[in-house]
């Protein structure tokens, strides 16, 4: 080692340290807010910038800077005030990889003439060309095919809604995917309209400090966030460390079952409502429920109806634990013991994952869990929960685009996850094979007599100011029979849940592809070259919001109440533009520019936008001040990027306080919690647009609710483990949320997929063994809707008869239509169900022979 002597060695070591320390030296440090669509969107990111590019992203450090294990240094008051770092999830550290990814859409593009949709051959065009092309096409299509010919597949896209509303043409779907059964239940049970954030449940500090037991029912907070990060999991773990028992009821042995829970109770997928009813049966028969609470706060007429059903007085089947064990495979003695423990551990924080509602007839689990909490008196009290809508302290919303959205002016003709059926089934209606009533029933029609709207100035033959009705009646078509006439699809925003519609909308991918073929023109806007982009005729490039867009945001969900600011820490890549600009420009070309965005006159976007943001912020600051929250000045806010609303409060928060403690009636018919809905029990109501007793539109209820029960009942899910089709397709497929993607977003980031996770199909060892499959084998998954290929994850964490494919795989078909990206949506189907619940299950078969790509 002569040549590498001591002095050389020392010099080398100094060089090593120098190089290491120089890595991020001299970089600028900026904050921004995460704008992934996890439901929380509350995390604060600390961005390192050098030469106008992001080099790395660090976690938040607004509180407890330099502290790792924060709970060792903070007090309970700090926990109530959320004086904690808002640490993100693994996706948070990868936004720059997303912004600079090779699949990033940089320029407006037009499909190359002569190529097919899906081939993905595009040519670059200018923004002006793209905007003119799309606006002209919108006018042309509406001109030729009428006002219901341009549509957006999914709701809500507030910007498109506003555009359609002001333009006077265009239709859209109703409802989201994530929690519509819960939203419907909230309206039916508590009179809180589905689209409002309404009353929430109990915040994290509340269950940490006030609950006696935690029940995670199909809820996996180490994966689904409802933000920030896995903060809910953190609080649940701290509660367990403080001695609170935790039970996890789930068809999978999840990470939550391992890390957060004392005990795991496996349950057959889709049968949760049966167990809920049996628990209620024990509570009622053993007189363990909170009679006083029920008499005071629950509509007794409805309670009696539900009680009679549970005791078998109405259908002759008593919903005993013995009845339920055969349905859900949870032994009767376990159900009975659970009910007794649940009654003893009062209040219990019971939280139900949104996933168990996302099956046909999932309305039953949403109402079942909330009904249990109601009869146990755990609703609206410290330490309890209302397992419908997880959210934080009440706070004003921000950035509803440019004032009120004329939402009601846009007919919501179909359930958003039925958009392909809306297109495809029309052929049957036109050929007389299907009646108009049946068509409306199938697509979840949710609209009344079509509203009187100003006739757009762009329609040929129409006099300005005349109503749609006049025009249509002139053509001899009665208004009731006016159906969608879909010819042009307009879709795209930042990470909207349905952004990559083919993968993310619950409708079958293959049906969506067939529906796309029927359209004359498809427009898509987004950030990455996702599968939906390949099927568009025109693609608009959008900014990567977390890093490139200047905006402020809050979320109605999650555990923390905060506002974050996104300063736009780096300029957009290529010619990417914010979606607000895109839709303002389209509006200008449609002649409604000023109505659409009063701030923008077609020049100086940045200045107009800044003026708008500051206006909004001034309004917000005023509202916050009223609530005792001091908002910092604009300059300070745009640097610190965080307002922590919880700082202003000394007590944990829970919803429904004004009802329980203040005696303020709920906006239900009885003014109390309603376990039973008189609307659903009234056949004369079927087929109408539904309003509650206070005149509020019930947003998440289609005109025909099909076989929705008036209260939480057990109805076997469509095509589950008991269906005759298991002879052909023996495995029940469930699609759950992934940890490392938000829908498809981050699918193409190799630091996540392939590095820390594998997109695989979960199957039990017995099912694998019977098919000669070992972990890691590529397997072919198929049913009557589609074919896909994935590696097998062979595990004892699920039981036989079921398989799991996580949501948001990218649709990547080969020439035979076999999906090698394997989005579970290729296996979904148009199911018989009350259609508020978006079903993400079906039956499939799995085999070893995959063929060649």
């Amino acid at each position: 080692m002569e040549s590498k002597g001591n002095s050389g060695k020392k010099a080398h070591r100094v060089a090593v340290l120098k190089k290491l320390k120089g890595l991020h030296a001299g970089e600028e440090v900026l904050y921004t807010g995460c704008r992934i669509n996890c439901g929380g969107s509350q995390c604060v990111l600390k961005v390192r910038r050098r030469d106008g590019k992001v080099t790395a992203i660090e976690p938040d450090d607004h509180y407890n800077r330099g502290v790792g294990r924060e709970d060792t240094v903070v007090s309970d008051l700090d926990l109530i005030k959320n004086r904690l770092q808002v640490r993100g999830c693994p996706m948070g550290w990868m936004f720059h990889k997303l912004a600079y990814s090779p699949e990033r859409i940089l320029y407006p593009m037009k499909r190359v003439e002569g190529t097919k949709r899906g081939e993905g051959k595009f040519e670059r065009i200018t923004w002006d060309e793209a905007l003119d092309l799309v606006a002209n096409k919108m006018n042309e299509v509406v001109d030729r095919y009428g006002p219901y010919s341009v549509f957006t597949p999914y709701a809500p896209n507030a910007r498109l809604e506003r555009l359609f509303g002001l333009w006077g043409a265009g239709i859209e779907g109703w409802g989201w995917c994530s929690m519509d059964p819960g939203r419907l239940a909230m309206h039916l049970m508590a009179g809180v309209p589905g689209w409002s954030y309404g009353e929430g449940s109990n915040d994290m500090a509340d269950f940490l400090m006030n609950t006696k037991m935690i029940v995670l029912w199909g809820f996996e907070p180490t994966i689904t966030h409802f933000g920030p990060g896995h903060q809910l999991a953190y609080y649940i773990k701290m509660a367990r460390e403080r001695g609170t028992p935790v039970i996890c009821i789930d068809c999978r042995y999840t990470v939550a079952a391992e890390v957060l829970a004392d005990q795991w109770i496996p349950i057959k997928p889709g049968t949760d409502a049966a167990m809920m009813l049996a628990v209620a049966n024990v509570l009622i028969k053993e007189n363990l429920y909170d009679r006083e609470f029920v008499e005071k706060y629950v509509d007794l007429h409805g309670f009696e109806k539900w009680r009679a059903y549970i005791l078998g007085e109405t259908d002759g089947i008593e919903k005993t634990p013995e009845w339920a064990e055969k349905v859900c495979a949870v032994p009767a003695e376990t159900i009975r013991a659970f009910a007794r423990l649940y009654a003893r551990m009062k209040p219990t924080w019971l939280w139900k994952g949104y996933g168990i509602d996302r099956k046909s007839r999932g309305e039953n689990t949403a109402r079942g869990a909330a009904s249990l909490q109601a009869i146990m008196g755990n609703w609206g009290v410290a330490g309890g929960s209302v397992p419908l809508h997880l959210r934080c302290r009440d706070k004003p919303n921000v950035l509803m685009p440019y004032g009120d959205i004329p939402r009601k002016m846009v007919p919501k003709m179909y359930r958003s996850h039925k958009w392909a059926q809306m297109v495809l089934l029309l052929d049957k209606v036109r050929s007389g094979e299907m009646s108009v009533e049946e068509y409306k029933r199938k697509i979840g029609w949710r609209t009344g007599p079509l509203p009187k709207r100003p006739l757009s100035r762009v329609w040929a033959g129409g006099a300005a100011g005349a109503g749609i009705e006049d025009t249509i009646e002139e053509n001899g078509i009665a208004i009731e029979e006016t159906l969608p006439n879909p010819k042009m699809m307009l879709w795209g925003t930042y990470y909207g849940p349905g952004t990559n519609t083919l993968n993310n909308n619950v409708d079958s991918t293959n049906d969506q592809l067939k529906a796309l073929e029927k359209l004359e023109f498809v427009v898509w806007a987004g950030t990455q070259m996702a599968s939906m982009a390949r099927h568009a005729d025109v693609v608009f490039p959008l900014t990567e919001m977390t890093l490139e867009q200047r905006t402020l945001q809050t979320a109605g969900y999650g555990g923390f109440a905060n506002y974050t600011f996104l300063p736009g820490v780096v300029p957009p890549q290529g010619e990417a533009k914010p979606d607000d600009w895109l839709y303002s420009e389209l509006a200008r070309r449609l002649g409604i520019g000023e109505e659409y965005n009063r701030h923008y006159k077609g020049n100086n976007w940045d200045e107009c936008w800044e003026e708008y943001l500051q206006d909004e912020y001034r309004e917000l600051a005023k509202k916050l001040k009223k609530e005792g929250v001091k908002a910092p000045g604009w300059k300070k806010f745009t640097k610190s990027c965080l307002i922590n609303v919880d700082e202003a409060y000394d007590e944990p928060w829970h919803g429904y306080k004004s009802f329980i403690e203040g005696g303020k009636p709920l906006k239900t018919r009885s003014g109390k919690i309603e376990l039973y809905s008189h609307i659903i029990d009234d056949e004369s109501q079927r087929g109408k647009l539904h309003f509650d007793d206070h005149g509020q539109l019930i947003d998440n209820l289609p005109n025909d609710w099909r076989d929705l029960a008036p209260f939480a009942a057990y109805q076997p899910i469509y095509r589950g483990m008991e269906h005759a089709d298991v002879n052909r397709f023996p495995l029940m497929l469930l699609s759950c949320y992934p940890r490392y993607r938000n829908h498809t977003t981050f699918w193409n980031i190799p630091w996540l997929r392939g590095d820390c996770y594998r997109h695989a199909i979960w199957m039990n060892a017995a099912d694998a063994q019977a098919r000669g499959i070992k972990d890691g084998d590529l397997v072919r998954i198929h049913n009557d809707k589609g074919v896909g290929v994935l590696p097998a994850y062979v595990t004892s964490r699920i039981l036989p008869g079921m398989v799991v494919i996580h949501h948001g795989g990218n649709y990547e078909p080969d020439k035979d239509g076999v999906d090698w990206g394997c989005t579970p949506n290729i296996f979904f189907t148009d199911m018989e169900s009350p259609v508020t619940a978006p079903p993400v299950t079906n039956l499939v078969e799995v085999e070893r022979n995959v063929g060649v790509r």
Binding site: H12, C89, A233, E325, A329, P331, E722
Partner: protein, 251 residues
Amino acid sequence: MTQYGFFFDQSRCTGCHACSIACKGWYDLPPGPLKYMRVYQWEQGAFPNTRLGLLAVNCYHCENPVCATACPNEAIFKEDKYGAVLVDQERCEGERECWDACPYGAIVYPSDKRDEKAQKCTMCVDRLEEGLIPICVTACSLRALDFGPVEELRKKYGELDTLEGLPDGSQTRPSVVFKPRDGKKQLIPWDGNKVLELWQQRGPFAATDLPPTFTDKDAVTRPAPGTVGRDRLVLKPKTAEELMVATRNDE
């Protein structure tokens, strides 16, 4: 020199990789086996006693760094402010003696090619110099990690220097304190065999003449060897591919 070190609470680790991804982001490491922080997930037992093993392992900057001793080129050294064990890439000749010596698998390489140079966790010395703490620690949502002078950590969290599946610390004297994972409790009676019997039946609403959900109960409770993926902890995978398998989950 004050020896700095880590605390890892296995009972809080969800295996989410926030630590490892934040580390890769900070050090601009490529996707693949170059993992300064390795997050293992593996399965133990089978139904009705399934457990999930979760473990995040970085370098513990040992008081007796056997990797450094093993290096024929003196390329690994203990930095003298925080006690971080660092690799001098200029001196490393890729002989992998350090990899053989380290019982934690802390030395990593970009690939299996023989001339790749050793890399490892740096204790984020660069961040320490800025008054920050290692990025893995700040990234953990469940606050399973802590960092500080190791003596302070021992006072705060105890002396445990090993976990099930890890080597005991007597030889290398790692600068780390551990807390093991939680046990399971039966809060309410639950009979796994009864569950299997119930699960095997299709249920009261089943169509007629359906086969049982499964036929071979043993295949559920005692899966054939090699069927289940990651059925053990492989702390020191021998190849890049094995490392990827061991440190990748399916969530």
